[in-house]
Point group: C2
Amino acid sequence: MAGGHGTRFWPRSRRRIPKQLLSITGKHTLLQETVRRLLPLFSWRRVLIVTNREHAPEVRRQLPRLPADHILIEPAGRNTAPCIALAAEWVALRAPAALMVVVPADHMIKDVQRFRRTVTSACRLAAAKDCLVTLGVQPTRPETGYGYIERGDAIRGGAASPAHAASWVRRFHEKPSARVAARYLSSRRYLWNSGMFVWKTNVFQEALKLCLPHVHRALAGVWRSDRAVAGRLRRIYAKLPSTSVDVGVMQPITAMHAPAPRLAVVPADFDWNDVGSWIALPEICGCDATGNATVGKLLSIDAHDSIVYAPERLVALVGVGDVIVVDSADALLICARDRAQDVRKVTHLLKERGWHRYL
Amino acid sequence: MAGGHGTRFWPRSRRRIPKQLLSITGKHTLLQETVRRLLPLFSWRRVLIVTNREHAPEVRRQLPRLPADHILIEPAGRNTAPCIALAAEWVALRAPAALMVVVPADHMIKDVQRFRRTVTSACRLAAAKDCLVTLGVQPTRPETGYGYIERGDAIRGGAASPAHAASWVRRFHEKPSARVAARYLSSRRYLWNSGMFVWKTNVFQEALKLCLPHVHRALAGVWRSDRAVAGRLRRIYAKLPSTSVDVGVMQPITAMHAPAPRLAVVPADFDWNDVGSWIALPEICGCDATGNATVGKLLSIDAHDSIVYAPERLVALVGVGDVIVVDSADALLICARDRAQDVRKVTHLLKERGWHRYL
């Protein structure tokens, strides 16, 4: 899934280059990292990218080995449920019961070996039990910005290793309050919802038919004819609701009884960062002794707890703390650390003022 | 006087382009503005610039109409007393009693008409009374960063207009405490020391001979022979103390009795800014309703009381206040507003780290 716009990463992310097409710390972009992370598990011929018209050329440029017709273009953003449903239709046409590993293209995972082992466990479980599998990340702090997965009964015989001891999911919980998040953290029954899923295509489609029948119906057979698929998709998407797969499928499925497919969770034992805003930088690249996280060259005089992203320019901080500084060729962001979520407001304001060259 | 280094204006000021050779708000540099301010009072043939070897080519570039030999090069910086003494020697060789108007090249004065009228008054006074004349700026706030001039008896018949009612100077006072500065402000007997002077060359040389005889002796006749003056100056300057004309000449002269030349002050009724640090920007270019002073394009979301100098790049401030942001091609400064004086530490640290390209 590589269709996001990532306005919280302005001024590095722009209309044409959203977060997933940027490299944050390394030489590869988040999209490239995402594919590289999975590739030893299957070949390029099994990689499928869903994006939009605007970003498709850059996706193609960044993934030259991807078969040309493995980029699906959504005519509009409708959140993850339609996106995954569209991909499932494409896969089903070729192999109706093929395993799908569904991942966002803008997450950062450093421990690649553990990631691959977890995905392999999840694949085994999805194949053996005909269930939907979500990857749940062990919480390390009482985060209020994520959804949580509540574990229910353990699944016997489903795990490749004790680290990946799978459970049935009792419930999905939306972003909690700080008090509730603290309780989740201490109970150890709750995992972060990573937004990564594994299932057999037909099992997902069955769940979709039950939970979002109109989405399933609208997209059914859309890839059968090659003629004018773009125009058809445009008309279909115009009427589709914007729905996440979490809220639209995962939450309701946990409340259903057989013969609905069940939802399982495999605990992820790798580091995971959804790179939701510039606040993620210290987790990704670490901090110096005074709490400054830097990509680029920093000269600090009594600066502390700041986040500096300026690969192409020297930054000198004098006597400031808790600020986010992000440099780019034509624009510069300086943001209070506790206002990282408001960076998206910058892009709204740019539109309002008609300063489109900075969008 | 155009020899300063202005490390407090980093990253705009650099080793090769110090403050006086920069344009801060307009299309002209501070040096060019300084000359343009004075020019209607006399011709290019009466302009003399003292600078150093490093900056001389840029001075020449910025003032193409200046006669080639009207740039005096000091081999080292020794503060204002040797600088003025060197220029006085040069003038004395051509016209021993010529009036000198001595001004720093890095001050900002917007009300050019009043400036010219004040200088004209000071020239009349210096010519009529054979005294040293300093321009004293009427304080508008209890500033602790300036020296103060305490006025004594009024000078009868010395002023061209009541606005320029001159006085003899009772005393020079160094930078005061906040409490003392408040007292100075309310008493109205004190004026800011602007560092601008007017006198007949021979009168200044007489004062120099009395107050800094070694400086006078060292430089006496230095311009008589053209042969190897650079080498001679280097040897002389190596032994000269670093002394300001304020501390070295003006302060002691007020304590002397006849036949020493007396020191007078003409009150300046124009706006005046010594552009001592980035803090000067709001005074020069004004503020918006939330207290932000900007040169360039600013997008503010709940930002306040900040100073932004970024003529070539858009700056977005989100939720920050009281910061100074200065952009340049290869380096960026973000400084707490109350730490503006510490910007010079950046250049020290750059030297220490060997990052010479940013100096």
